[in-house]
Amino acid sequence: MNVDVAVIGCGPAGLTASIEMAQSGLSVVIIDEYYRPGGRLLGQLYDDPKAPVHQRRWDGKKVTQELVEQAIRLGVQIVCGVTAWSVAPRWKVELSGSEVKSVQAKALLLATGAAEKALPMSGWTLPGVVSVGAAQTFTNVHQVAIGKKVMVVGVDPLALSVAMEMKHAGIQVVGIALPSQSAVTGKLSSPEDALSKLAEAADLAPNPFLRMMGRLVAGSLRKVAIHALSLPLLRLEGIPVYLRKAVARIEGEHEVKAVTLQDVTVQGVPTGREERIEVDAVCLSAGLYPLVELAQVAGCSVTHVPELGGLVPLHGKDLSTTADGLYVAGNITGIEGAKVAMAQGKLAAVSIVQSLGKAPSMSKDDAMHAVEQARDLSPIRFLPQILEGRAIMDQLWQEAWRKKEGGQAWMI
């Protein structure tokens, strides 16, 4: 198959990009491993207080459907259930799971998104233990309960949102607690750290109760909140949020039967007191990381920027990378919400359209400005230091560019 542009990932970034590119007269194919288009957009269902009144309800399935219909009308080919297992410069995409074994394209857009970090603990491989993203997908997309009585492990904006979504869907959520201290949990197990992260998420949360939680621990109330850690528990729409209890282990012989909570100090150190709560499912939340494997395979420089969520492809403000003709958009550039991913998709498309000698619908500057606007209006902020992360990337890019101008190769 020969196209102008191959897009890998049919989420908000890939779909939005493909629409802009097709409108400018380019032939586009989107490849996605999942059985249906939409990516993580599919699981999103909330009211956005920052959106205009008639656009408050954010129904990811509906948004997906509209984007897919528009893309198909413009002639974009959407190929789902197919894995892009390798990419090679200028640009060949190797496929498995389809009749067509490869795609040749003049430009390649990686919109691969993110995956969830693991949160290993005793009993975490038992059937009934799922990642918080899986809980969201099964609740909102497949509409099947992951259990009747669920414990959520991890106190962060995504975990709290999914806990409430499960409760609204009729699942009994018995509590939200931190993971116990271990070699892998680090700051995740600290009540103080969890509180300050919630404080940073205040006012950005999609749900009024989340915002309330955030404000409780924000600003001048911070000291009071730390003091409040000595209180037995907080409640989020009736769901107990245990800031002074941590999940020590998940129990069950063949499937999840219970979790054991232990009391911890403000620093997260166990005090020795334990209690057992019977549950039939557990959700683990440890945050997201960008999916960069294909960028690495493509020979694109990657760099570690913790403020963006981990290892990310080195990229410019216009979303070009160190590999000629390779562009990135969405969570592969750093963990943010769907609206930012969509604006980035449009920006990457504008850059690609221009590079291929066609006229985009807006200028690069306007598209860059739209990304910043989308960020300002985002209802949820996954990484508190995302702005610092973006600034670090801009600086790294300029440094790398200067080195290249000076006759040196790209730094790997």
């Binding site: 491993e33 999942y34 059985y35 269902l45 129904d59 399935k61 509906k62 259930g81 995956a115 969830e116 491989t125 038992l126 059937p127 009934g128 233990v129 799922v130 990642s131 993203g133 899986a134 997908t137 099964f138 609740t139 909102n140 497949h142 509409q143 099947v144 309960a145 992951i146 009747k148 869907a169 009729g170 699942i171 063949h254 499937e255």
Partner: protein, 106 residues
């Protein structure tokens, strides 16, 4: 059994049709086009396979094809990720492959 774990939702997919399928020979029903893992969970089935090495039970973990924990044999093809393999009428799902590997090692 199925209605126990099916959730009410305001954004339900339209046009879903009930179909029959089997899991390790058991006759079950699910919605056509939903992932096999969702249909299994809706039938109260959480254990999809056993670990080839430790023999411990395994089920859905990430739900998006990343962790490979929910693999099963689907219509004779082994190691299919059930979280991203759509259910069809008459689909035969089994966890036999991994158990056969285990038997072969004895």
């Amino acid at each position: 059994m199925m209605t126990n774990t099916r959730l009410f939702s305001t954004n339900k997919d339209e046009g879903q049709r009930h179909v029959s399928f089997t899991f390790n020979g058991m006759e079950l029903t699910g919605y056509e086009g939903e992932p096999i893992a969702a249909a299994l969970l809706a039938n109260g089935i959480k254990t999809i396979r056993t670990c080839e090495v430790t023999k411990e039970p395994r089920g859905i973990f990430c739900g998006i094809g990343h962790c490979y924990e929910c693999r099963a044999e689907v219509d004779g093809i082994s190691n299919q990720r059930t979280c991203m393999t759509p259910l069809r009428s008459g689909t035969q799902v089994s966890s036999h492959s991994s158990w056969q590997i285990e038997e072969a090692r004895k």
